[in-house]
Amino acid sequence: MIDFSLSDKIKQQNMQLKMIAEGLMRPVSREMDEKEHEKPWDFINATWQFTSMQTARMLRKLDKQQAGETAEKNGKAPAEYYMGLMYMIEMLSWGDAGIYLCLPMSALAGSAIEAVGTVEQKKRFLSRFAEGEPKWGGMAITEPHAGSDTSAIRTTARLDPETNEWVLNGEKIFVTSGLMAAEKSDGILVVWATIDPGAGRRGIKSFVVEANTPGMKVTKVEHKLGIRASDTAAIVFEDCRIPYDNILGDPTVKTTNKTKGFKGVMKTFDASRPLVAASALGIARAALEFTKDALKKEGIDIRYTAPRHRRTAIENDVMEMEAQYKAAWLLTLRSAWMMDEKLPNTLEASMAKAKAGKAVTFITQKAVELLGTLGYSRERLVEKWMRDAKINDIFEGTGQINTLIVARRILGYNRTQLK
């Protein structure tokens, strides 16, 4: 039955996360933005308690499975798993999207390992996220010469038969939490590289590189328009040697067209795009709420039922912001629900991402506009949200890439038929 009501579990989670957002994020939002490259340690230490516990629970479950104690299938998620995740990310991004990205956890690296890693790999790489000091995981895909074009990856992984090690060479950019994962904590990076430069898409594999492995070096931490609390690193690999077993998934170059490894990687986008959309919408909600509150203080309440000749332009703008927000939010909700229902959602996830990216840029830019000098000032957070927001139309596939995916899906076209 079609139902839009929240389960008690998510309601309770929302309440808890709102406290974190209001208590540990909002108060340091401005500071973390101005002092780019500093870290929100209070938030990190507090949330590490939570994320490390979750990882520990996951690992215990893994042990049980190995011991045959549970019939639960590997990777089976509990009810409303993605829905819960989505609401979490929305609320934390409502708090501060830059700080949310500092959440100490294995992040995308963890997802990749959980999705395709062996049990041994999971234990070896993820147990660190269950104990000790806060740690980060990162995903290194993009290279300087290629943006969305993952098939053009030039970083190589050559097998040294003598030592049975992979030798990585290449340069990665735009690695979220790259500095924290690679150098400032005992974290891990998942690095995409080709084991056969002539094989295109089929030669691309992912490898786990542990923090401070010799030959891996963070060469730059970017100065950005927004989400400044989060570090975005450039990382160079020069004869960086890692054990043979650090490769994720099948180590051979498939010769068939069924590029399973690559598709597996693309599959993770089905899960991550609704979450990125949710992050976008957290920012959008923050801006929308702030705008409405500020207008209310000036005596302007939005009259939803007033006809166009009575409604003011500013009320009309706010309604448009709300409508766009609602549209994007419901698409996102649907795509997360489909994940939980194990329904194929590539189309719907890209729809949500494309729409949310557009909606959040529109809403935050409009908020700055409507609020005038208040909106443009760095004394308030709206201008920051507008800067933070823009990343959502760019990462995890730009708006254009996601629209392209939607177009291909609805037309039934492949990447040759619709370039």
């Binding site: 039955m1 079609i2 139902d3 839009f4 009501s5 929240l6 389960s7 009810a79 409303e80 829905m83 939803y304 039922t305 007033a306 006809p307 000749h309 009575r310 309604m319 448009e320 709300e322 409508a323 766009q324 609602k326 549209a327 994007a328 419901l330 698409l331 909700l333 649907r334 629900w337 489909m338 719907e348 729809m351 494309a354 729409k355 629209t403 392209l404 939607v406 177009a407 291909r408 609805i410 037309l411 076209y413 038929q417 619709l418 370039k419």
Partner: protein, 363 residues
């Protein structure tokens, strides 16, 4: 818990309505638009689907409960078939739904049973007025109480089926509030004007009506002394029209998509060009978003909650969306879209009406 699954019943209903839309409405659509007339048997075939009776409780001869959400599902399918026919077939709802929501027992007992028969009974409502600054919450048509009766004065337009309707539910200003009054056919003071000529929905007979000291017993005020919560009723209408806008938009989008895949230019299907493909993708996204917005508002209404904000956003979003999409439908077909051999120009003409059709459908 959040879910986007239809119930089994809803799925069956949707399938049945879609079949009717595809086999009957689509076939009749073009001729009906050109001639201004729906084929005689079309409404009776549609009435057999039992959509209106399925909203009426057994006590009054029906076999269900009113659900805006279920209504939104079938309204979308009907409009996908043909908007004129959809508005015609659902016109009785314009009386039935307000009765179900706010009618006194007597009103319900008297009026509802006739809509549970096998035969289509025309009934309608009159809300729109002929001026640009029309405001449903500040009507110029007035209802004045005089002892045991109400005297109505004013002019209404875009009243579907007014010439044949057994009853017209007339909305009027009653001391600063919009209230509804049940006016039976042939009541003195009620004059049905000429059939109107519009850009779209040409197969739907709509009329202007004039009320000149049109006097009815006080018990004809819907809901009796308590009256109605007009805003809530209007929300039902926004949901119904929103769903229909989605239906029309989907029709145009689907047609344009198939055309774009078949039509070749410069050696490739035009769909393989990003300019066209992205237009189609944006259509698909906004159609889905609009449908979900309709569902959410309907769901809230069904729970008896205030859905005024949601319904207002539905109206705003769908009015815009259906225009963008149906305009895009014509655009994708280019010169062929401009010719009345293809249906996209019809959907385009109908699409522009939604911003105006306030109150012309209800589920």
């Amino acid at each position: 818990m959040i879910s986007f699954s239809l119930t089994e019943e809803q799925k069956m209903l949707v399938t049945a309505v879609r079949r009717y839309a595809e086999r009957e409405l689509r076939k009749a659509m073009r001729d009906a638009d050109e001639s201004g007339q729906l084929p005689d048997n079309l409404m009776s075939a549609g009435w057999e689907l039992g959509l209106t009776p399925s909203s009426i409780p057994e006590a009054y001869g029906g076999f269900g409960e009113h659900s805006a959400l279920t209504g939104a599902l079938y309204a979308e399918e009907l409009a996908w078939g043909d908007l004129s026919a959809a508005l015609n077939l659902l016109a009785p709802n314009l009386l039935v739904i307000p009765l179900l929501e706010y009618g006194t027992d007597t009103q319900k007992e008297t009026l509802l049973p006739q809509f549970c028969d096998m035969e289509f009974v025309p009934a309608t409502a009159a809300l729109l007025e002929p001026h640009i600054t029309f405001d449903p919450h500040n009507l110029r048509t007035t209802a004045e109480k005089q002892g045991d009766s109400y005297r109505l004065n004013g002019k209404k337009v875009y009243v579907p089926l007014a010439a044949d309707a057994t009853h017209i539910l007339v909305y009027a200003d009653d001391g600063g509030n919009t209230q509804a009054f049940i006016i039976p056919k042939d009541t003195p003071g009620l004059t049905i004007g000429e059939r109107e000529k519009n850009m779209g929905i040409k197969a739907l007979p709509t009329y202007s009506i004039t009320l000149e000291d049109c006097t009815i017993p006080a018990e004809n005020k819907l809901g009796g002394d308590a009256g109605i919560d007009f805003t809530r009723l209007l929300n039902f209408s926004h949901v119904a029209l929103g769903a229909m806008a989605v239906g029309i938009a989907k029709a145009s989008y689907e047609y344009a998509k198939e055309y774009a895949k078949e039509r070749e230019a410069f050696g490739e299907p035009i769909a393989s060009r990003q300019a066209i493909a992205f237009m189609l993708a944006d259509m698909a996204i906004d159609i889905d978003a609009a449908r979900l917005m309709v569902w959410e508002a309907a769901w809230k209404l069904d729970r008896g909650e205030d859905a005024t904000t949601e319904a207002a956003l539905v109206k705003k979003f769908t009015d815009e969306m259906v225009m963008t999409v149906t305009d895009g439908g014509v655009q994708v077909l280019g010169g062929h879209g401009y010719i009345r051999e293809h249906p996209v120009e019809l959907w385009f003409r109908n699409g522009r009406g939604f911003a105006t059709f306030t109150g012309m459908a209800m589920v």
